[in-house]
């Protein structure tokens, strides 16, 4: 009954209705796509690195230069371990999300015919798996004898490698990874001795699988002498970042410290652009919903004033306050629904454009009902004030203004 009244009245202000429908449609399309992008970035930012993030601090230096200085790395590590609160200290390369990585595509057979997808390299001095908090889930960890130097191209000489579960399952599905081999050059092969649960690489890219990494054992060498990583208690982090940097500077006044800090901050810094995009989209969505709500309220207010007489007549003819309230609510629901239907088409079109230009996946339809509920709610909230004012119009208005 109500709906028929509402439908009958709508064509009387076609232009304004159409405008609102279009506005809701565009808002819906932006809302759904923005929510989708925000969700994508948040998922990315929540990536599990597999390491004991909140207990790690690092100091990045310019390294020791030539290989004849490699003993300085050992000296520095011993000194760092002497700081109160440092549980372990290692030199390493390939800390997850450190914003650079060495990547290689290993061969899986000696004849160099089968090649694996790109794998990120992680290498460190004795004890680095424990420092990072990596647990061996199969096979064994590195023994002291496993640690060795690197060749002219910085490839580890040690012939053993540890891989995360994800890579083991990709390279040798259904087989025991222990004892399998990968080749990095015709003459340099590595045998898998252990499997860790997970560790991600230093730099993520669309065509890289984050968890495809390989862990190597190196003794202190100049090539990987820039990054010192320490395991400390969370409450000691700030103090030890400062103290370890000061200690290293005392040991070698000529040393350059390029960066230092705790791992959690470094990780946040890696995702700062994603965070900035997510926040901007959120701000735009909030502002857009606000503007839309205010617009709807403004229009509804106008309609209520314009129809005061009609409302009075309806009230005089027996319509209750509730009827009038529901009339405006139903009208708003219909207009918003029209906008949502049109908005769905627009959303798909916008998503198609975004997938073409920004390597975004297709939008799941699950966003439609969520976006629809949000806009219905916004519409109902916006119309409530004017609708209540309409409901308050006394029947006597009908007699006055005719």
């Amino acid at each position: 009954m109500q709906i028929r009244h509402v439908l009958a009245a709508l064509p009387r202000h076609k232009l304004v209705c159409l405008l609102v429908v279009f506005e809701i449609a565009v808002a819906f399309a932006i809302l759904c796509n923005a929510a989708f992008i925000i969700n994508q970035r948040v998922q990315l930012m929540r990536i599990d690195t597999g390491i004991a993030e909140d207990q790690l601090v690092f100091v990045r230096t310019d390294g020791v230069g030539a290989d004849e200085n490699a003993h300085l790395i050992t000296r520095n590590l011993i000194a760092l371990r002497g700081l109160a609160g440092v549980k372990s200290a290692v030199a390493m390369f390939g800390l997850p999300l450190e914003n650079m990585s060495i990547n290689f595509k290993p061969w899986l057979t000696a004849d160099m015919k089968t090649r694996a997808p790109s794998v990120g390299m992680v290498a460190g001095t004795p004890g680095y798996l424990d420092t990072l908090g990596l647990k061996i889930v199969q096979g064994r960890g590195f023994a002291d004898a496993d640690y060795d130097g690197v060749d002219q191209t910085s490839k580890p000489l040690s012939p053993v490698v540890i891989v995360p579960l994800e890579l083991a399952e990709r390279l040798w599905p259904g087989q025991n990874p222990i004892g399998q081999k990968i080749w990095r050059s015709p003459t340099r092969s590595y045998t898998v001795i252990g499997v860790v649960q997970r560790i991600v690489r230093g730099y993520l890219r669309e065509d890289f699988v984050p968890g495809y990494t390989a862990l190597f054992a190196v003794k202190p060498v100049a090539a990987y002498s820039g990054l010192y990583v320490m395991r400390v208690a969370p409450q000691d982090r700030e103090r030890l970042v400062r103290e370890s940097a000061e200690l290293l500077m005392r040991l070698d006044p000529d040393m350059l410290i390029d960066a230092k800090g705790n791992y959690v901050d470094m990780r946040a810094d890696y995702f700062r652009q994603d965070a900035s995009l997510a926040w901007l989209l959120l701000a735009v969505c909030v502002a857009m919903l606000l503007v839309t709500a205010m617009g709807i309220a403004g229009l509804a207010n106008f309609w209520v004033q314009q129809r005061r007489r009609q409302i009075g007549i309806r009230r005089a003819l027996g319509a209750t306050r509730g009827d009038i309230l529901r009339y405006f609510q139903a009208e708003n629901f219909l207009i918003v629904s029209g906008g949502i239907v049109l908005g769905m088409l627009l959303t798909l079109a916008l998503n198609l454009l975004l997938t073409m230009h920004y390597e975004l996946p297709r939008l799941p339809v699950a966003y439609f009902p969520i976006g629809a509920v949000v806009l219905w709610l916004i519409g109902q909230i916006a119309v409530l004030g004017p609708a209540l004012r309409a409901a308050a119009v006394p029947p006597v208005v009908a007699t006055r203004s005719v």
């Binding site: 310019d62 030539a66 191209t153 350059l256 994603d274 989209l281 617009g295 975004l354």
Partner: protein, 433 residues
């Protein structure tokens, strides 16, 4: 007449302050968001060397064994040196960068990590780099592998504590270089000639001859990304390694020369195929983009920045429709007043103009609010750690654009409502009163 419309519009806007405030706020938010993101986009997509970029070209060759979808972005040593020695362009330079530990050569000086570029003599005149003291090194210095350096003014100030660095020695790694020139701080935006490091960061601070840097391979100037397409045997001595790591730029002063250089590149690639250096058969894979094409090709503007711009413009569209709706009801509500004016002799055009003036006032007020919001937004961006953060300022063109966009948006928003308003019939409405 316009003054009268202005008076009428202001009167009408004052009559309904809430509605006016709503419209101005919506326009302000939309314009503010759009101008903030547009300014960043404008800044990042600009021409790094206006007036010169059309004559600078980036030759591309493909020595790799398999044809990828895009041509390699760097050259290997042999190709770069061959093209450099061929001297077929008006000017040409090889370049590769790295962060190198640098200090003044006297004892007790503190080292610092400086962006160092190993290049050849033509670099400076080719890119129009201005010297404040001294000169570039000569082509003879290049071949002699001279230990000379050019430094930026700010590097000179930091290394020599404000004293002139000209003629002094600086130590890179463990080797001393004599400073032969000091350049004005130079920061092409984006950092077009070497895109592997952050594209909008500071300029290079130390310049040394390329062949000298090869002579001192342990200095480690091997670029910010090393891309090898075969088995490598050495990470430092890259001369014979199948690795792409060098940039090579040429200056060609007119299109005939550019055409001739394209021909030369093709011939060179064919020659290398015959020599067996290039494994790929078939027509030569070469290209010669100019600066802007090269930046385009590399998608140097971060895709997030353009995504933000599009979202903000979408938001502006919502704000625009919102304002249109509100203007429409505002004008229709004054049906009586307009019909009286029509009955008293106002023409349709006059009503139309009057309504548009009102829309433009709203738009301009929104534009002013938007400008404030954009300034606040850019202030916020300057306090983020993005590499372009310190560049985020509203320049004169964008300041003007704010008002042009406000005017355009308010005219578009006001068009439909004004058109409706001027079609209100005079007599019919008079009867109602």
């Amino acid at each position: 007449m316009l003054a009268y419309y202005l008076g009428l519009a202001l009167h009408s806007l004052k009559q309904n302050r809430v509605l006016t405030a709503l419209m101005v706020l919506a326009m302000g938010l939309g314009i503010g968001a759009s101008m903030t993101t547009l300014t960043v986009f404008h800044l990042l997509s600009g021409d790094p060397l206006p007036g010169r970029s059309g004559q600078l070209f980036y030759p591309q060759l493909d020595p790799t064994p398999t044809a990828a979808a895009v041509l390699p972005g760097n050259m290997n040593y042999i190709d770069a040196v061959n093209l450099w020695q061929a001297k077929r362009a008006d000017r040409q330079a090889i370049m590769v960068g790295g962060n190198i530990k640098t200090k003044a050569a006297q004892t007790g000086a503190r080292p610092m990590s400086l962006h160092t570029l190993a290049t050849t003599a033509d670099f400076f005149p080719m890119f129009g780099v201005r010297f404040t003291q001294g000169n570039a090194w000569t082509p003879a210095d290049d071949l002699a592998k001279a230990r000379v350096a050019v430094i930026s003014r700010s590097a000179s100030n930091r290394l020599f504590h404000g004293e002139s660095g000209l003629g002094q020695n600086i130590r890179l790694g463990q080797w001393d270089f004599r400073v032969v020139g000091v350049i004005d701080d130079w920061r092409p935006t984006p950092h077009f000639y070497e895109l592997d490091r952050e594209s909008y960061g500071g300029g290079d601070e130390v310049f040394i001859p390329f062949l000298t840097s090869r002579d001192l391979a342990k200095l480690g100037v091997t670029g910010y990304s090393l891309n090898c397409y075969g088995n490598t045997t050495d990470d430092l001595h890259l001369e014979n390694q199948p690795c792409l790591w060098l940039s090579f730029w040429v200056e060609l002063d007119n299109s005939a020369k550019a055409q001739a250089y394209r021909q030369f590149l093709d011939n060179y690639a064919r020659e290398q195929q015959v020599l067996g250096r290039y494994a790929q058969a078939g027509p030569p894979r070469t290209a010669l983009p100019d600066v802007m094409q090269w930046l385009d090709q590399n998608g140097v503007v971060p895709s997030d920045v353009s995504l933000k711009t599009w979202i903000a413009l979408g938001f502006l569209l919502v704000c625009l429709m919102n304002t249109t709706g509100l203007l429409l009801v505002k004008f229709l509500r004054r049906t009586t007043e307009i019909s009286v004016r029509r009955a008293l002799g106002a023409s349709r055009q006059q009503i139309f103009m009057q309504c548009l003036v009102e829309a433009v006032i709203v738009g301009m007020a929104g534009g002013a609010l938007g400008l404030l919001l954009a300034l606040a937004g850019l202030w916020g961006i300057r306090h983020t750690p993005a590499d372009y953060a310190d560049l985020a300022h509203l320049d004169l063109p964008m300041f003007a654009a704010t008002f042009v966009i406000s005017l355009a948006v308010s005219l578009v928003a006001g068009l439909l409502p004004a058109w409706r308003a001027c079609h209100i019939a005079p007599a019919l409405q008079l009867k109602v009163i």
